[in-house]
Structures are given as C-alpha cells and as structure tokens.
Amino acid sequence: MCLGIPGELVGYVEEQADLGVVDVAGVRRRINIGLLVNEDLRLGDWVLVHVGFALSKISESEARAVLDYLEGLGQAYDDELDALRGSDIS
C-alpha cells in the first residue's frame, strides 16, 4: 500500500477526464490522474502510482530505478502487482 509503482501514461479515458491508462510492468490499468492536473501530463510521461492515484511525475530513469528497487522487494511487490491486476477503476 505504501509502495509507489511507476507507470507510463499510455492513454486517457474519454468519458472521465481525471482517469488515465498506465502501463505498469506490462499491466495496463486505469488510474486517477486528478492529483497531477497542474503537471501538464502527456502520453509517454512516467508517474508514481499509489493505490490507483498518480501522485508524482517522474523521469524515465527514475521510473527504471524504482522498478528495479521494487523487483528486489520480492513478495511485497508481487502482492502489490497482483492487487493492481485485480483493479478495475472507472
């Protein structure tokens, strides 16, 4: 729950302006991007996702570093990814 997972913004959700689609380690999920309204988010940008909300915009190199850190966590990261896979935000 505390883990921020980096995702790449790959799409928007037409009917709901504050939702975006991110790709997180190959998993594509809708997340809320409303907390980053002032960040001028663009497709291809990377964000740190906490419990379904993008909380900060980050660079790609930071995203890679965080992903590597998370992979090193083992079980805790697997659980978080499983939870994300089960997520269906709308």
Partner: protein, 371 residues
C-alpha cells in the same frame, strides 16, 4: 540497467562510505532515525549499517501506517464488517493485522464479507455494483494515501453513491515525529525524512524540527545511495553547525509537495483532536477523520462502534520498536512467538515494519556481531 547502476554503483557506495567516515567526529556518537518503513527495508536489505562507522547508529521510526493501527480500531472495523448488509473493503496489507479478537482474515473465515482492493476507487466500484449493500472502505495510511481516500469521497459525493463510506484511520507524519522528539527515552541527532509522504506534504512542514528542536532532516529516496547520501548530508550539516531541512529526493519530491492533494485532504477531512497510535499512545492532532460536510460518507457516524481501547498484548514491544528505543531482535518474542506468519505485533505484519524487515533479511545487531 545503466539507470539503476547510477544508484547502486559499488564504487560510488564505497566512496560515499569513506566520505561519511571522514565526516564523523570520532569522539562523538550519532543517532539518526529513518522515519519511513521503506527506508528501513532498504537499510536492512543492503546491509547499509555495516558500511557506516561504528559511532553512527540508525534507528527505525514510526513510519509504517499498518504498524501504528491500534487494536481497538481493527476491532471496530471487524464490527462493521460483521453487519449482514456490509461489504468491507481493504488494502491487502491490513488483512493480517491482529485486533483484540483476530484479524480481517479471521473475520472473513468466520463469514464476514471482506474484500481486498488495490484502490479506494475499486471499493467505490463495488459500491456502485451493489446498491443494496453498504460498502465500507478501511482507509489507512499517512499523507501518501489520504489524498486518494479524499478524492474517492469527492467522487462518491459527485455521483451520489449513498451506500459508500470510509472508516478513516489516516495518520499524520508530523505529529508522529513530534511525539518521538518529545519522548524522553531517545536522543536523536537527525532524521532521514520520508520520501513519498513528502511528495504530498512537501518539505516545509519539517521546518519546526530544525527550528524548535535543533535537528537536521534530509528527505531521502529509497536507493542505497540515496540513503548514504542523506546520511552524508546530515553529517555535513552537523559538522558545519547547521540544522536545516534538505531535500535529497528532489527528483520525486517537490519542495512544496502536491498542493492539489493537500487541498483534497483539506476539503474532505478534519483533524481529530487526538488519535491512539499503537505503541505510542494517544497523540494530539495526529490523525484525520471525515469532515462534517461529508458526514454521509463517514462510517464512524453511520455505524454504532464499540470504540474500545484494547491494550496491546503484554509480550508485545512494538511501541519501543516504533519509537526506536528497542531494536526488533531485543523484543522477547521476536522470531519465536512472533513471526510474519503468526504476528503478535504489527511491526511483524507489514513488509515495511522493522521486525519484518529484520526477520526477512536475517540481520542482527552489529554490536553482537562485533562482540
């Protein structure tokens, strides 16, 4: 992999360790607290303490939100979950946290409808899909997750989803740190500040630590080099006679935090006059409840709660561990009666809890190894 090497490079780690050693006054002891459980994890996983001079000690702070949930609140949540028309939703981290009479997992096994969700927005979706049930979200976490709870309540209000509510257990990092600073048991020389909480609140709220308590704080990232660099920054401040708030993690943490997130919290939540933290006791102005304007989404007002204070088990020393007074292995039940499979205290439940981090990486105290 070149990106990662930037933060892991063994040569840079060693060079930094040497610089840290050079900065230390050999006649002095330094005790720094890392507030965040994520940092504790990195420190033990990479054995960073072994790279530090003998007179630098790291102690673990209260920054694991699962670890500070008191038993009474778990019992209240289970009481809600047992109502026949209720679906209780929760992050997976909460499920094994023991209350006075069992955990969410136990209650689920006994028939309560408790479902794991990744996001409060998933809980809201369950509410939409089950209009004849009351759907409650067990909201936990520091300022990192509070904005998502707030945004979800705003969305529920906008859509008029009347069968959704939150059982609010959000805690605030600043009063937690203040409680540690006011605790007579511990003498600290500085703080390694939390990364993701700071992405929300920014760096300014820590100013009182430098100003009123004369201790430096450096907001830090989660890579081994981040943490070593933060220690280096703390020691540099001390060597120069400065005590300031500095930001080592500027690549993620803006100095002003995330104003949109703070605004959402401010709209939907109110400061509780006091809140009980497991092990730390009641702390003034240390947690968030649902604001009056959103009372219709506040499980605390919608359900009759027992609200009992449940004392922690006698054998449990989580309070001392959360304050950094005891190292996990010094707890009498560590690794014997208390393991991640059968946790007695909360610090063993979450992967960010200090006891779980020690247990997982099998690291024991340096003093014992040296002796």
């Amino acid at each position: 992999m070149k990106f990662v090497d930037e933060y892991r490079d063994a040569g840079r780690v060693r060079a930094l360790a040497d610089e840290i050693a050079a900065l230390c006054d050999p006649g002095r002891r330094y005790t720094f607290m890392e507030v965040c459980g994520g940092h504790t994890h990195t420190i033990y996983k990479h054995g960073l303490e072994d790279l530090l001079p003998e007179n630098v000690t790291l102690v673990h702070g209260p920054g694991c939100p699962v670890c500070v949930i008191p038993m009474g609140r778990v019992d209240d949540a289970i009481h809600i979950a047992r109502q026949p028309d209720v679906i209780m939703t929760s992050f997976g981290d909460m499920t094994r946290v023991p209350g006075g009479s069992g955990s969410f997992l136990d209650a689920k096994a006994a028939g309560a409808d408790i479902r794991m969700v990744y996001s409060p927005l998933d809980a809201l979706k369950i509410a939409r899909a089950n209009p004849d049930r009351r759907v409650v979200f067990m909201a936990i976490g520091f300022e990192t997750t509070a904005p998502s709870t707030a945004m979800t309540v705003l969305r529920a209000a906008e859509e008029g989803i009347a069968n959704f509510s939150v059982f609010c257990n959000h805690v605030l990092i600043i009063p937690g740190i203040r409680a540690i600073l006011d605790s007579p048991d511990l003498r600290l020389d500085g703080f390694i500040g939390p990364g993701h909480v700071s992405a929300v609140i920014g760096c300014r709220p820590y100013a009182f630590i430098a100003r009123d308590y004369g201790k430096p704080l450096v907001v830090a990232g989660f890579e081994p080099l981040d943490i070593l660099q933060s220690i280096h920054m703390l020691l540099t401040q001390l060597a120069q006679g400065r005590t300031e708030v500095e930001n080592q993690y500027a690549r993620v943490v803006p100095w002003a935090g995330n104003p949109v997130a703070m605004e959402a919290i401010g709209r939907v939540m109110r400061l509780r006059p006091y809140f009980e933290w497991r092990g730390l006791g009641s702390i003034a102005d240390s947690a968030l409840g649902v604001a009056d304007a959103y009372a219709a989404f506040d499980a605390e007002r919608l359900f009759d709660l027992p609200g009992l204070r449940v004392a922690d088990p006698k054998s449990c020393q989580c309070g001392e561990v959360l304050k950094g007074v005891l190292k996990p292995w010094e707890c009498k039940v560590f690794g014997t009666a208390c393991t991640p499979e059968t946790p007695i205290g909360t610090c063993m439940v979450s992967s960010e809890g200090a006891c779980a981090a020690y247990y997982t990486f099998g690291r024991f105290n340096r003093e014992a190894i040296r002796a």
